[in-house]
Symmetry: D3
Subunit: 238 residues, 6 copies
């Protein structure tokens, strides 16, 4: 049995709160059960050096975790003087995932930076971050369009993400922390609203997994992402 | 006239939410108007090298600001690879302020770390952090006592902090961002519940200030801190 | 048509040279076409802090690229003072892949470090690194067994890796640099000799990919890895 | 009794040596008893990025302590790779204090950097640094005026600083090291020649201090600074 | 007796392989016995800030050692986040040595960077690096001339380097690792093809050395370098 | 003609002031003309990890230059976050030079750290540093012997250093800054009181130098060092 009696293919309760803070062009608190990530979208009228003069924009992401977002306190990366490999891996994943649904030419020479900061962690922080960052990015784009800075939307469609894994032989959707620790295989899947893959990252933490297991994991992920895209749209329509 | 029609000696609305996150021994969201700081207290059963074997504990603090807590996005200190002088100055101030109301011998060889992370900034983040960190620290101490790890409380009494300043010749209590930018003198005052000074840091940002002005600022600060200590007690009694 | 007239499901010529340098316990130069990676395995009779006293060993990896391994000179990471996110991501992947085929209990409290340094890059450096690192690790284990330090082998079986991708709609095995730059989807697959998955990392660099495309990519990868495992065994038997 | 039989409101012997080194535009060795700080003022015909094109100049400071300026050898910050929080706090204080007596518009787009390096420490290094830096800055300004680069002086008046503190219940002026270690309250005061406050930084190191104690400390500080300003003028007139 | 029966004034077998890797403008694997260094020359059409607009070029070098080039594994400098003092000393020496035989005016505003990476170390890595780097640099210059980017060669003549030392009272040419560890005096000599000195760096590791010993060491070095210059020319003519 | 009418083989006026600061076990201000270096010797009753348990001591050095020791202000290395290659090269040279005259077994498991900080630079800072550091080290050893911590002196004899160079064809002793900038060859020589070489570091900054020129430079250096050793003894006897 899963905690709180969840079915194997059931998401945790998801909550998406727009406008969580006041300064950012997009600011979303996303909750997957006890996992809470604050995603802000910041628009700056400049691009990094490798895009200058290209006429194209840039979408990037940074990820962080408050030191006591976790069960035991972790080091503060700013104090330690560098970001961990895990942090860099995650922020690169978020950036690629968001760029996959952006037409950078239509964005024009400006940058949208998605800051995803984990206030509370209980598994699935990177997938919650991607799902919430899309909503924040959409809000920022809407502001650019409302102000006349953008005529047509550079957003090609929604993107969302979920984790799946195999715990004691059972494929499960949306792992929470105690499941994540116990799982043999952990997979993060990022998909578009059209049901196509943006990223698939599967890792055997214990024994290697078979093709049949992978197929079942992908099926679960697709189900979960379809639901998340629906929740994103509902939140944006509110 | 101040924003929102505030009187010169009036605090912004203060809100103290205990148990804001679930993992930390103490977790407080404190709001001074639009300034919102998450203060967590983490207890660890070890002390830094310079205290080992002393039989005494340690209380320390770290401070951070989410990149988009502010009007325009600031660099992420973890990505830049170092904490700014301002950040270090503030976290040293928070640590000293909290240690001022702790009997470290009674705490025993354990450390309480206060992480103060600004989710949204509108002036006064360091004073909100000190005021909220005290509540989080008290919650952590209460847990240690409830669990029998501590027999007697190491807390000597409350501590709270407020900013005061002179804007266009008028001394004001609890500066918000637009006032902070415009002020000639900026002073942060940290006091105990007994009305004694823990820290006084006054800076002339424009013209130097007179003794008469300092006296008026100290009077305002004392009024504000008395109110904050009352609000801390009310929150802890809830 | 692919460069050098390769078929879509054909590997580049693979060469595995054992004993490429003299000091390391295992030292393998692996070549996938023009990609050349030097993989050394170093045995040290100690483990990192988080394994001490556990009775278990550790297998880890570091990755680097000589500044002029590439078409244009890249920064030297040692001179710049930090490893890029890409470097960290790759070395974490190599480490996880090798640990997947090691029984760390049987290894005993010692560490095998796999240094994978790219002398010449032409696409697929991380998959060549994993494939070569396994051979170097096996050589190091053989030495430990020959010297009587290990009674039974901690190696559970072979592991190898290959890249696959979709270029202009065609799924291809073992991308070289010009294909990698042009591809829409890039996937790195790590498998055991038994045909089970250790890692699957697929990224849509242009348009998102469909389930049918993923199935074809996984089929190609399986074919390539089967061949690579055969080449590893042949090299080890030489 | 204080060391060397000093009265509670008595400064240590102060010595100000101008032209201590030959290259800098201003070079002052200042001694407060055994505390010796070399303060140099360097003029550069450029400003930091945030001032460019403003027509205004900049005044800034850096602070350092030779490793064996102290009783026991401290780490060399250059070797450790970063400045401590204490160092940054002090150099920010020196910079703000000097800017308080500069009209940056009149300075024109040039920078004066005040390097304050402690050759020997015996308490009060930051206050000696501020007091000496003013003399060095005045020398540099005089050179700019003599060379015709500046028509009118950008210096608004003198600035000096002193520490005060409470040791075993007695308020004392100008703490030396043994007193600093033993004190309950430590306050650094920076004032202009006109007797107005530029900075007040009071810290309760042991018990919190009362308003009456603060009043007495401010009275002592004012007395000391009045004397220091006189000594600065005498040195500049020599 | 020396290892492998070498005479005191005999070089180890030297091998110079041009075109060792494919991307660099010059790429040379140089071997002094078991010491193997990969030297690449990279041409970039830009110069560092201090040369911009001067019309002159720049020649510089970077040095690295693969972690397991040595008997026991050394730290990876990129992972540790900084280059050691030894590494910096060596790369500065290589850069100065190569600049000594370049007419930077004739080179024009471009940079040649010599990357010297030690694949296998057995003493004398810095002297092998200088000797190999010259060949790589010459290849790069030849390419610039063949492509018409340079009319006249900026190379003034060859440069090569060798180590000499005193082991148990006997002066020896070209120390290998076991001799280097045992030597009392270690000297690195860099000379031009014309027999003039570019660098002489002698260090007494045990007892100080006499003038007579220095004379003998210089004689040995001159003999070795004459041979190395011959081998460079032979390799370039191949 | 040299500045101040110096003869080619004449040292600048040398001044050695012992006890320049009060805390260090040895503290020497050494002046070679306008070059002024403060050399302190600090004794600590511990050794670095690689010497622990060996029964032997360690002698090491650190070097720094105050930002405005030079004609134009240089970056503060502590602020920049790393020591330059030049700084590391020099401090390694000073450390080796001093160790050459120490019997580390006789020193016992303690460390003498020589901090050489340049207060004013006018050429020859590293040779002044070595010459002054020896006097500071001797003072520290004398204190250890006077206190009974050491029975026999670990000092084998004096060590001193001087620069020589060729300016417009003329070999000169003890280059000052304007000569250093103009020289073709620059050589630093470190010798023992017995007239043996500890270090010889010659660099052709312009044209390569001949054997005859080297011989003349060595002759000049020997003359200078003999004089410096005499001045060291005189200072120590005072």
């Amino acid at each position: 049995m899963r905690p709180a009696g969840r079915a194997p293919d059931q998401l945790r309760p998801v909550r998406i709160t727009r406008g969580f803070t006041i300064h950012a062009e997009g600011s979303v608190l996303i909750e997957f059960g006890n996992t809470r990530v604050l995603c802000t979208a910041s628009v700056e009228e400049k691009v990094p050096p490798h895009r200058r003069g290209s006429g194209e924009g840039w979408v990037t992401a940074e990820y962080g975790m408050l030191p006591r977002a976790t069960h035991t306190r972790g080091d503060r990366e700013a104090a330690r003087g560098k970001q961990s490999g895990r942090t860099q891996e995650i922020q690169r994943l978020i950036g690629r995932s968001l760029r996959a649904v952006f037409d950078l030419k239509k964005l024009g020479e400006r940058t949208i930076t998605l800051d995803c900061d984990v206030l509370q962690a209980d598994g699935g922080t990177r997938t919650a971050a991607i799902t919430g960052a899309f909503v924040a990015a959409q809000d920022a784009v809407n502001k650019l369009m409302a102000s006349g800075k953008l005529g047509a939307s550079p957003v090609l469609g929604p993107v969302a993400a979920i984790s799946v894994g195999i715990v004691e032989g059972t494929p499960l959707l949306d792992l929470e922390y105690v499941e994540d620790v116990a799982c043999d295989t952990d997979m993060n899947v990022v998909m578009t609203g059209a049901g196509h893959y943006v990223e698939v990252q599967g890792t055997a933490e214990g024994v290697a997994f078979t093709r049949a297991e992978m197929d079942e994991l992908l099926r679960l992920a697709e189900k979960g992402i379809t639901e998340l895209v629906g929740l994103q749209q509902k939140a944006l329509a509110a």
